[in-house]
């Protein structure tokens, strides 16, 4: 009779997972950064003029989330005071070593692009006296004069930065996927599809968040949601959702079909441990329902009012889907003990540095910054110039 081994996990796994909810939050936040940037780039580079109402806001959103992307990592590090070692003494054989550089590059790019996009307004508001104009004087970096030529140069730079930013966003998020995909010790992570899956789901989450925030801010400001803009975003979201879910399913299908050495455990991981978060939330509630709602939503016949409702609901569902996907990858992968004989229990803590309460707190910070940015800069103004 063929021997079949019972449950057993390695003793060091008995203390739970090493990467907690903070490491779930980190790729979630960077994903929103990349996704929002893609929408801005669709307008600036690919000439999708109907996205003009959200083009500026998308940049502001991308920046606001990017500004806090490192916070979950800092909270996770067991020696946070040594965080900058990753930039001062990087070991380039590590997939993680590039983080500091890629992140700094991207944050700088976003900050510069925002300053350029809003330059005319900043210069205008910097005229005069008072505390408020002082703020704009600082933001203008001391250049209070604008000429036709300088505007032309700014426009060129915005275009160039948007172009550079697209592969930048791909690297920023594809790299996050590679951190997991490059671990041969973990069969749930180790796949070359991982960076592409992370990237496509990042774009999905970014567009979804943009739809939800666009509708919310429009209600708050008492203005009508631009129908063409919303429809275009929903159509793009629908397309990327199909791409993301296809890739996620393909990865699982491939594992199931090959029935490799660890499949007996991976199948249990999916059907038992991650039954709720993977099968129900990620695949059914978060993917199938938005797929139908978005399809109805972007069709021309659908009335604008219903479109707003469908867009918001599917946006929220997709946001939950991507969060579940991050959880299923990060936590799910660690649930599988390296003994391949048993599962590590994950019991999230509420309080503590890496607890759910702190994670929720961290996740509210980008929204606060975004609200502040939208007070300081005219994020809803539609750019007059064409690229």
């Amino acid at each position: 009779m063929m021997p079949h081994a019972g449950e057993f996990i390695f003793p060091n796994d008995m203390n739970g997972v090493a990467w907690t909810v903070m490491i779930v939050l980190y790729p979630y936040i960077t994903g929103l950064v990349a996704g929002a940037f893609v929408v801005a780039a669709l307008y600036h580079v690919f000439g999708r003029k109907e996205l003009a109402p959200v083009a500026r806001f998308a940049l502001a959103m991308s920046f606001s989330f990017c500004a806090f992307a490192t916070l979950p990592l800092l909270l996770h590090l067991h020696q946070p005071q040594r965080a900058f070692f990753i930039m001062f003494m990087p070991n380039f054989t590590s997939a993680m070593a590039g983080f500091g550089f890629i992140y700094s590059f991207y944050l700088t790019l976003l900050a510069v692009e925002i300053l350029l996009v809003f330059r005319s307004d900043i210069v205008e508001m910097a005229q005069g006296k008072g505390v408020r104009s002082l703020l704009y004087k600082v933001l203008s970096l001391g250049v209070l004069r604008e000429t036709a030529k300088s505007k032309q140069i700014d426009a060129k730079w915005i275009h160039a930065l948007s172009i550079v930013g697209i592969p930048g966003a791909c690297i920023l998020h594809g790299y996050v996927g590679f951190i997991f995909g490059g671990i041969k010790a973990n069969p749930w992570w180790s796949t070359a599809l991982m960076p592409v899956i992370f990237l496509s789901s990042a774009i999905v989450s970014g567009i979804a968040m943009l739809i939800v925030l666009y509708v919310l801010f429009s209600k708050l400001r008492g203005v009508r949601v631009d129908d063409e803009c919303l429809r275009s975003m929903m159509k793009t979201l629908w397309l990327f959702l199909i791409l993301a879910v296809t890739l996620e399913s393909l990865e699982l299908l491939n594992m199931a079909y090959e029935e490799g050495a660890e499949w007996h455990m991976l199948s249990r991981l999916v059907t038992e441990k991650l039954r709720f978060s993977f099968l129900y939330v990620q695949l059914i509630i978060g993917s199938s329902i938005p797929f139908v709602l978005l399809l109805i939503g972007w069709m021309k016949k659908t009335s604008p009012r219903i479109r707003v409702t469908l867009g918001t609901i599917s946006g929220l569902l997709v946001l939950v889907q991507v969060l579940a996907m991050r959880f299923n990858v990060v936590i799910g992968g660690q649930m599988l003990s390296k003994s391949f004989r048993g599962f590590v229990d994950y019991i999230p803590e509420w309080q503590g540095r890496e607890g759910i309460l702190v994670a929720m707190g961290v996740f509210t910070l980008p929204f606060i910054l975004l609200a502040a940015v939208s007070q300081i800069l005219p994020v809803w103004k539609i750019d007059a110039h064409d690229h």
Partner: protein, 284 residues
């Protein structure tokens, strides 16, 4: 021959030389200078980043071939570890010794002993005693009469030649000594736990006392003075053998030469230097 010696109309090179303009006189040349500086800096930076990659490779080769390591009796030292599972009685003395020698926190393990029990119905029971003296004092579940075979497998860091843990450490806190021992620099470790994820054998953990990555060091503080690791010293049955695998006269070299040797998870290609006698397919 410079271009100016040529006969015929003056070419571009001579034109610029005869120009009275000095270095960086025009916006044009300033732009060129800045552009050149950017190009050169980028190229230089890329070259400098690439160099450590080659050095790393060279180091790995040295460890593998034993070049430039510590010279003893005319050869370089390369440490190895051999576990003879046919001798282990599961007393847990090694786990206790390791904990005391290295101040390993409760519930965390640099080494442990797994028990494999094969039943007549085809099932295999695997467990480990993580409490008390770590000795297996209780019988495994089910009727002992139903048992086909049973044995113990001590586990510890494999001190691989091609280490995934060193590869993934973002700050280079995980490193390998010339004698092939894989260590963690506790002063440099940022505690990101990437190495914990990358180790296929579950031997790394974040030490709850030091808040850094931790693992078996083969008792480096002992072996550098010619002593044996605490677990090897304390083992009453000679299950664990440690020594210089580059010395053909060492106990471990003789045992490696005369036994059928296996390693854990060989399919991952990490080339462990902790090797085993008497493994079965069920041991991972």
């Amino acid at each position: 021959m410079s271009c100016c010696d040529k006969k015929g109309p003056k070419d571009a090179c001579c034109e610029t030389q005869t120009q009275p303009k000095g270095f960086m006189d025009t916006a044009e040349s300033r732009r060129e200078f800045i552009w050149d500086a950017v190009k050169n800096f980028t190229f230089g930076a890329m070259t400098l980043t690439a160099i450590p990659l080659f050095i790393e490779k060279a180091d790995a080769e040295e460890v593998h071939t034993g070049k430039d390591g510590k010279e003893v009796k005319g050869h370089t030292v390369l440490f190895g570890y051999l576990v003879d599972t046919t001798k282990c009685i599961g007393c847990g003395g090694c786990m206790l010794a390791c904990k005391k020698e290295n101040d390993v926190p409760d519930g965390q393990f640099r080494t442990w002993v797994e028990r494999y029990v094969y039943y007549k119905d085809g099932s295999v029971h695997v467990d480990v005693n993580t409490k008390g003296t770590f000795a297996f004092t209780e019988l495994p579940p089910l009727d002992a009469k139903e048992v086909d075979k049973a044995f113990f497998v001590p586990k510890l860091c494999n001190h691989c030649v091609d280490t995934p843990c060193i590869q993934v450490c973002p700050v280079g806190a995980s490193y390998k000594t010339k004698e092939g021992v894989v260590l963690v620099d506790y002063e440099q470790c940022i505690g990101c736990a990437y190495c914990v994820q990358a180790c296929p054998f579950g031997t790394r953990f974040i030490n709850t006392k030091t808040q850094t990555a931790d693992k078996c060091t083969w008792c480096y503080h002992r072996i550098e003075h010619g002593e044996k690791p605490a677990c090897v010293d304390v083992c009453p049955t000679g299950t664990r053998t440690f020594g210089d695998i580059n010395d053909p006269e060492s106990e471990i070299s003789k045992a490696l030469a005369t036994n059928r040797i296996d390693v854990l998870k060989s399919y991952l290609g990490t080339r462990p230097k902790t090797r085993y006698i008497g493994l079965t397919a069920e041991v991972v």
